[in-house]
């Protein structure tokens, strides 16, 4: 898979991947989705289903963000702005799940 990087069109207009790379990424996204659905229906995969699905989903997420949204080739400022929101969102999700799903299961000792 070639990742031919074209010249940018000016500052902040980072280069993009080639059309061949876009088609390849589209194919990989399709295969990963097919793999997700397949392992969902295999009973033997049940013990590792959740971590496996999370890894596959994260892979799809990264492929779209890096190649289709061009963060792999664009200014790191855009990655920073996006990651700031993403990290805050992740902290908020973990905090809410801890507060309302995990902690209520522990009784206060005293």
């Amino acid at each position: 898979m070639s990742t031919e990087v074209l010249d940018g069109h000016g500052q902040g207009q980072g280069g993009h991947a080639s059309r061949g790379t876009y088609w390849a990424i589209g194919g990989i996204l399709t295969l990963i989705t097919a793999a997700e659905v397949t392992i969902f229906y295999i009973p033997a995969m049940a013990p590792v289903l959740v971590p496996l699905l999370l890894v596959l989903s994260a892979t799809k997420f990264l492929l779209v963000v890096m190649f289709f949204m061009h963060l792999k080739f664009d200014s790191p400022v855009f990655s920073g702005v996006f990651l700031a929101g993403l990290v805050l969102a992740s902290f908020m999700t973990v905090a809410l799940i801890l507060l309302y799903q995990v902690l209520p299961n522990y009784q206060v000792m005293g």
Partner: protein, 199 residues
């Protein structure tokens, strides 16, 4: 063609960092949208398994149907990057083909969602039935509203392209629309895994 685009890009406003202000602003908007959807996804996760009456997720969610709609949305993202590539190269014909593809695939995704929602209501699951229904309809409904906005945006770009008003100099407009579309796609990647596959 790339040189023409480079000259035309100088018409865009730039921040003191040398980056286009529209693009910096739009990435900031996407960062804030991460928080918006994270709050909806968190709510779904918090209320997961707490419904005291059915229908429950495992009884009603249609994985094969949603897998197809997920594939459709992923392919719309592919069409979007190819549309941007076509606009940057100044190909009107391919711009129309790929922007039209995004509109059709996005509309197909919305069609799947309308079918799913109407099927759920027919099965007795509404937004007021239980906490699963409330959190599910709010989360996927807001996502569908974003897709609807994206489809309308793509239709306006298609009309501009058809009128010959989408030149390589306007590639930034298409790139920003693409960022929005891909963001909607990555939100669905997360929803498909957390809501549909991890039950």
């Amino acid at each position: 063609m790339a040189q023409a685009a480079a000259i035309a890009q100088d018409d865009h406003h730039y921040t003191s960092t040398g980056l286009p202000s529209w693009k910096v602003g739009f990435w900031t908007f996407i960062g804030s949208e991460c928080l918006f959807f994270a709050s909806l996804i968190s709510t779904y996760m918090v209320y997961k398994g707490r419904s005291v009456v059915g229908p429950y997720p495992e009884e009603i969610l249609n994985i094969p149907l949603t897998s197809v709609s997920t594939f459709v949305l992923l392919m719309s993202s592919l069409a979007m990057v190819l549309a941007l590539d076509a606009v940057q190269r100044g190909s009107k014909k391919l711009s129309l083909v790929w922007l039209g593809g995004v509109v059709l695939l996005g509309s197909a995704f919305l069609g799947f969602q309308v079918y799913e929602f109407s099927h759920f209501v027919h099965e007795g699951l509404t937004i007021g039935t239980n906490v699963f229904g409330s959190s599910f309809f709010v989360l996927t409904g807001f996502h569908g509203a974003h897709v609807t906005g994206g489809v309308i945006w793509m239709i306006t770009l298609w009309v501009l392209a058809a009128r010959g008003k989408l030149k390589p100099a306007d590639a930034l407009k298409v790139e920003i629309a693409g960022l929005y579309w891909h963001f909607v796609d990555i939100v669905w990647i997360v929803i498909f895994t957390l809501v549909y596959l991890i039950q």
